[in-house]
Symmetry: C3
Subunit: 345 residues, 3 copies
């Protein structure tokens, strides 16, 4: 696909600066772009790269475009515009609908005529697959599950029985939706399984990363709302509810029955323990553990920063006696107070 | 299935209170239950839900049943009784034994006549599959592995060669049993692989979560004892041994050769480093790292709790100078001691 | 395979001590070895096991061999020698090349004649598969990907389109290479996907653990250099670059665009945030979070050690007031200084 800079400006509500007839055939980074690529600069720390880029055009803010002599697409939000331009050039390829001869599709499943079921995938009875759905190889869609229109399952994705996904979702390889929640009752020394009979309900425009797992609810459902983005290797436990447009980075764990608000971000390897409520617009930094509910928007943290191990060991050793240290400090304060009977400031 | 409250009381050693002929057809939560559902209350914080529940019957302790006017199943442990009742209503469905035409089963594998091998699963030579085993779609059982009676493999489970599982186990989608341990010998700058020739031995009634990985032993075996419950995305390294009825929450990592006792619980995202011994009845809180052996039962912790980031940053910055701070405190104490030569209290 | 001790000494540049005609047929641990096994001792804490071993021969250093009366293979580095001997006895089995009848191989893929494609694996158009490659069951190799000679994919491995692996790599079950990076642009409350169009480039002799995920680059490539060893359940984000012979233990997360040096080691559950540079020969301890670049080789840490929870709770509570405590200490110091106008030591 070849598009002029003028055409890109028209499509994405920007202004073409410089030669508006510049032909663009793809997107690239400032450093590696060629004369038919469009690049972008979102941060001024890349000004030196902008100075020497060979890109055919660059997406810039008005302020940054002022000093750039080459063809530019001027917009308010270059990162967003770049995403849109990249989506134009890298749309998911058109595919021929149908069912691969090696797929195993129950006669009691309902497939939209524009859907594709890839090789060796298995679609059980009662499944409903919407228009434009793409199911890659090696997937399993359990009985009575529903896959919304234009949703895509990459390779080896598992969607458990009765689970529901909305439209325009994307599931990366190895994602598991609807595994049993971790529910057991104590029976003397042993654990008795509590059957997990809820579902996972996933909204529209949700993305689920590779090998991420989302457990079905114990009785009621686990709920992932519209626009939620989940990175790789995340664990979402039973009966968790995640609000619209929350984004969670890799290796995070959310324990059972916790409710996360809308527009939150959770950094990589962070954790949230069970039965908590996290408000809208809460941001948790990487590696932090949340162990009580958060009612106010804002940034929350509990992570430590690696330092040379010898130094760290000394500090950490003191931490394991911090209560004693604090008592000693209080003792000193009291002693001084008694001896001097100072007037308060 | 429809059962009277009286029948439930008989089966599960409880007492029926109120109309013993109440018909029950399923389980549900207090809030969503209807007149043919049985619910339970395990914690008195849900008393307000109990007051308005529409459940046909509720599983309660004697004390809680006193004030409840509706039909009740009175037992000592409502949570356990609920698990048993739910198992009754939600037993794993009866399946027709056999081998799906798309499965690839070695003629040198031995399958019990009551077992099922699902679509696109691959069973290698020398495998032994017990009575009532259910193997879902897309699984791989490696050469000479043994799957005990009534064990179930959900979709896309991998059991490595020579590994052994006991009876009545449940493996969730994407679980990998018997991948190589992480064993290498330094060879100048490079790493030489140490072949991993042990197995994974899994006992009876073990549950393994989605995308959890259990490595085979280097020379001897990795051992998961009877009744162990593992949640999703857990890593069990080579030659780990886990004692009976220990339960481990999601995202935990156990490093090589560590031995975990019986009846332990390990919270989500906790870690245990290698070559340790953890006693029976040890409980490790979520997010805590265990770096030395634990000889005494009890609760162990090392996790921090997220707080507003600005406040946290100030505290964490001080932590990175805690050794200096402790030295300054000791200096003050000494100085005061010298100046006042106080008599000890 | 049966080999004399003398032959092992010849192959691995060691010295046979004792009966050089001792026949060896396998490797084992000191404690479980029999008369046809060779074992090794790398650490003198196992001297008591050495004293009673039934092994046919033992790999020892010169110093340790002095006091051992039985047949020994004397080398400088017993662990390395053991790895090599074990590789000899446990070489990956010879396999018959070809394509399993249930595999789905595009006519536009190019397979070396000595390669094997296992049951239910799917090889897309434009793929190039090198000599001696072994592809296990249930794998998916995306369009235009390249698999280097003698590389092995265990069961259910996914290699994304256009990704490249070198020679002699090993991918464990469930590994996902080339899933999309986690890239989104803010669009009001919503997230717009930034198409991820880079690749994953993997060097030679790389090992990737079970259910580990490596995302493709956003525009440029994610790069895993020669000799890198990755354990299970690791997340490598888009545009990360990892230097030669770095080894990373399980459950680690490396965030986007971070560059890790050569010969580093990263302990289990450690994390490295995005856009950092980590020098060569950096070692990060288990559970530590790295949040700024590291320019000097050495050991870095930030992990805490679980202790009895009651004690820990008191210390952790103080940590959340550490800034205040430090201010109080400074106040005391100032007060004492004022009151005594002491001469400095």
């Amino acid at each position: 696909m070849t598009v002029t800079l003028a055409e890109l400006a028209r499509r994405f509500q920007g202004k073409a600066r410089g030669n508006a007839d510049t032909l663009i055939e793809g997107v690239a980074a400032l450093q590696t772009a060629g004369p038919r690529d469009i690049a972008y600069m979102s941060d001024r720390k890349y000004l030196s790269q902008l100075a020497v880029t060979k890109a055919g055009a660059v997406i810039l803010t008005e302020a940054d475009a002022t000093n750039y002599p080459g063809p530019a697409l001027v917009v308010a939000n270059p990162h967003l515009c770049f995403a849109q331009v990249a989506q134009l050039f890298h749309a998911f390829p058109v595919f021929k609908p149908g069912v691969h001869p090696t797929a195993v599709v129950s006669p009691a499943a309902k497939l939209a005529s524009s859907a594709w079921v890839g090789p060796n995938s298995v679609i059980e009875a009662g499944v409903s697959i919407g228009e434009g759905v793409y199911i890659g190889p090696g997937c399993h869609v359990g009985a009575n599950a529903t896959i919304g229109a234009k949703t895509r399952l990459a390779a080896n994705v598992v969607i458990g029985e009765r689970c529901v996904t909305g439209d325009n979702c994307l599931f990366h390889p190895g994602a598991v939706i609807g595994s049993d929640g971790f529910g057991f009752a104590k029976d003397g020394d042993r654990w008795q399984k509590v059957p997990q009979i809820g579902r996972v309900q996933i909204g529209n425009e949700v993305e689920v990363g590779a090998n991420t797992t989302i457990d079905r609810g114990a009785l009621d459902d686990t709920v992932i709302s519209d626009g939620v983005k989940l990175d790789n290797l995340i664990q979402i436990a039973h009966n968790v509810r995640i609000g619209e447009n929350t984004a969670i980075a890799a290796c995070v764990g959310i324990a059972g029955s916790t409710v996360i608000g809308r527009r939150c971000t959770i950094g990589g390897q962070a954790g949230v323990t069970g039965h908590l409520e996290i408000a809208d617009d809460v941001h948790i930094t990487a590696g932090s553990l949340v162990t009580s509910s958060i009612a106010q928007p804002g940034v929350y943290s509990a992570s430590l920063k690696a330092e040379p191990a010898e130094k760290w060991r000394r500090n950490a050793a003191r931490l394991h006696h911090l209560d004693e240290l604090a008592r000693r400090l209080a003792g000193l304060e009291e002693k001084l107070q008694q001896h001097f009977e100072e007037p308060k400031n």
